[in-house]
């Protein structure tokens, strides 16, 4: 059972899937492309959550803070200093990671529910600050100016395709980072920390430091997704990029697909996001809440019968089959 060597079969399957993902948008409707873009975006956030939640056991319900900071940093830099969003992307990531470390350090003893509660409080504080902060548009938010479409401006009008491929690349980057983390010293240390701080310390792990690594990596990747969202929608306010339901969605994507596996969150997003987008499009406008009922039922069923998540269940089956 090679967890660290990717077999030829897996490589072939991955190649086929990637080819499909490259071709698929070319034959999709504009709405279909949009659904896939949002799916990738949440998949990326789920993968990022998984680094700290799935591997290191820090259940964050505050990821939206990093998403929002990513969105705000790049937008603010575009509006105020006319900097390319790509610079904002990196700046947002760095700010998110530093803020994550600053808040993570005093929380280094918190575990389980207590950590989750602290993360909610943190994200709510960030939301309230941005809602009242005039420099970043307060409750009105920021509207990005229309400029000529180009890769440097991270802006495209004629088609969603460039956004699609950029988001796909971002997702691949996140998956690569998560794969690297999970197979390196860091991944082993994260899993020891998840088991208990005591055993991690017995094994010589600097628990505080490695927890910060997990939080910072997670924050950076989530922030990237936030910058992408701002460039994609071109309008952000605290109610669209800093609210708790986004954090919950990110956790659901990861848990549903299978926390603690590299691809789990991607599978989770592929199920959950199209379901939520299409059910909203078809059923949501009637105001009956049928879409939410469907959504809730699915989550209940999976958490009752497949707590390891969909991808977790599949990998377990494959392992047993060998």
């Amino acid at each position: 059972m090679g967890m660290h060597t990717i077999s030829g079969k897996k490589l072939a399957a991955g190649g086929a899937l990637l080819t499909l993902l490259i071709i698929l948008p070319l034959v999709s409707s504009s709405f279909g492309q949009h659904v896939m873009i949002i799916t990738f975006m949440f998949a990326m956030c789920g993968v990022a959550w998984n680094v700290m939640g799935g591997y290191a056991g820090m259940f964050s319900f505050g990821q939206v803070a990093f998403f929002g900071i990513g969105a705000y940093t790049s937008s603010f830099l575009v509006l105020t200093f006319h900097l390319s969003p790509w610079i904002g992307l990196v700046a947002g990531g760095v700010i998110s990671a530093l803020l994550a470390a600053a808040i993570g350090y005093p929380c280094s003893k918190l575990r389980g529910h207590y950590f989750a509660i602290a993360s909610i409080a943190f994200a709510e504080i960030v939301r309230i600050v941005f809602t009242n902060w005039d420099m970043v548009g307060a409750a009105e938010g920021l509207t990005l100016p229309m400029v000529k479409e180009s890769l440097t401006h991270f802006m495209f009008h004629s088609s969603k395709l460039p956004y699609y491929y950029i988001m796909l690349l971002f997702l691949l980057l996140a998956v690569a980072v998560c794969y690297w983390v999970s197979t390196s010293k860091m991944g082993y240390y994260f899993r020891a920390i998840k088991e208990s701080h005591e055993i991690a310390e017995v094994l010589g792990v600097n628990v505080v430091r490695y927890r910060l690594f997990a939080i910072m990596i997670s924050a950076f990747l989530t922030s990237m997704a936030g910058t992408f969202y701002a460039q994609y929608i071109l309008y952000i306010d605290p109610e669209s990029v800093m609210i708790m339901p986004i954090s919950v969605q990110i956790v659901l994507v990861a848990m549903l697909g299978g926390a603690n596996t590299v691809l789990g969150p991607v599978v989770g997003a592929a199920i959950l996001i199209p379901l939520s987008e299409y059910s909203r499009a078809w059923l949501g406008y009637k105001g009956t809440g049928v879409d939410m009922i469907l959504y809730g039922t699915l989550i209940t069923l999976i958490s009752m019968y497949q707590p390891a998540g969909v991808w977790g269940a599949i990998t377990n089956l494959m392992r047993r089959g060998k």
Partner: protein, 246 residues
């Protein structure tokens, strides 16, 4: 005294509120020794372990390892210096295989995964767990879990290995195997300090025995002398039994 003692514990005290868990305890361990700490429940044995390895802060006294002051250092710093401990209740990482558990310990000394893996394989061969390397750690029997714990500790390349009740709950056959394993560990140049209740193991393994009672060191010496000491018998069996024996 010319040589610096290997482990030198000087007048350690640890209070929990009004309780003196460790009260002015001093002892030393020489390189290559096997030393046992025994004593009734609540005597402060595990607390003493935690004070030496940085899991508890020390209220008074100092700990020196190879002449270096390690008092109140962080557990990971002390582990890196070569002092590695286990806990009374077996601790393994539940969503990992046996091999991965041992590898996690090995990352203290190597960073390349391939190096860590091959070293971990060696450790499993040493402790006799090679057959079970791909089992989930939770599937193991108590005795195998204790072996795994020793393997994880050894992967950290300790100079001083501190085992907290690694014999508890073992069958006779398993006990013999564990005694043999600890001998083998020492033969490989690792100094061993154990907290132990199983007297058969204490008698056979120890070069010296330290007896704690209510946080204080009451006796120290070769195992045969220690068990014959009236104060030790009183600590274990109470005043009355001692009186009857007389």
């Amino acid at each position: 005294m010319s040589a610096v003692p290997f482990l030198d514990v000087q007048s350690i005290s640890k209070y929990f509120g009004g309780v003196r868990a460790c009260d002015d305890v001093s002892f030393h361990v020489d390189r290559g020794e096997i030393v046992s700490i025994i004593g009734p429940n609540g005597a402060g044995k595990s607390t003493l372990f935690s004070c030496i390895t940085g899991f508890h802060s020390v209220d008074k006294g100092r700990v020196f390892f190879k002449g270096q002051d390690i008092t109140n250092q962080k557990p990971h710093t002390i582990a890196k210096l070569g002092v590695v401990r286990t806990f009374q209740i077996v601790q393994v990482i539940s969503d990992m295989t046996v091999l991965e558990n041992v590898m996690t310990g090995g990352f203290l000394r190597h960073s390349r995964v391939a190096d860590v893996r091959s070293h971990a394989e060696e450790m499993l061969a040493f402790t006799g767990l090679t057959d079970k390397r791909n089992h989930n750690a939770l599937e193991l029997s108590i005795s195998d879990k204790k072996r795994l714990e020793v393997s994880m500790s050894l992967a950290m390349k300790p100079e001083l290995l501190m085992l907290d009740e690694s014999m508890a709950g073992l069958t006779r056959v398993e006990l013999r195997e564990m005694i043999a394993l600890i001998r083998k560990v020492r033969a490989n140049g690792v100094t061993v300090l154990v907290v132990e209740h199983v007297m058969e193991a204490v008698m056979e393994l120890s070069d010296r025995v330290i007896v704690l009672n209510t946080g204080r060191k009451i006796v120290e010496g070769p195992p045969k002398e220690v068990v014959a000491n009236p104060e030790v018998i009183r600590a274990y069996l109470g005043e009355r039994y001692n009186a009857v024996r007389k």
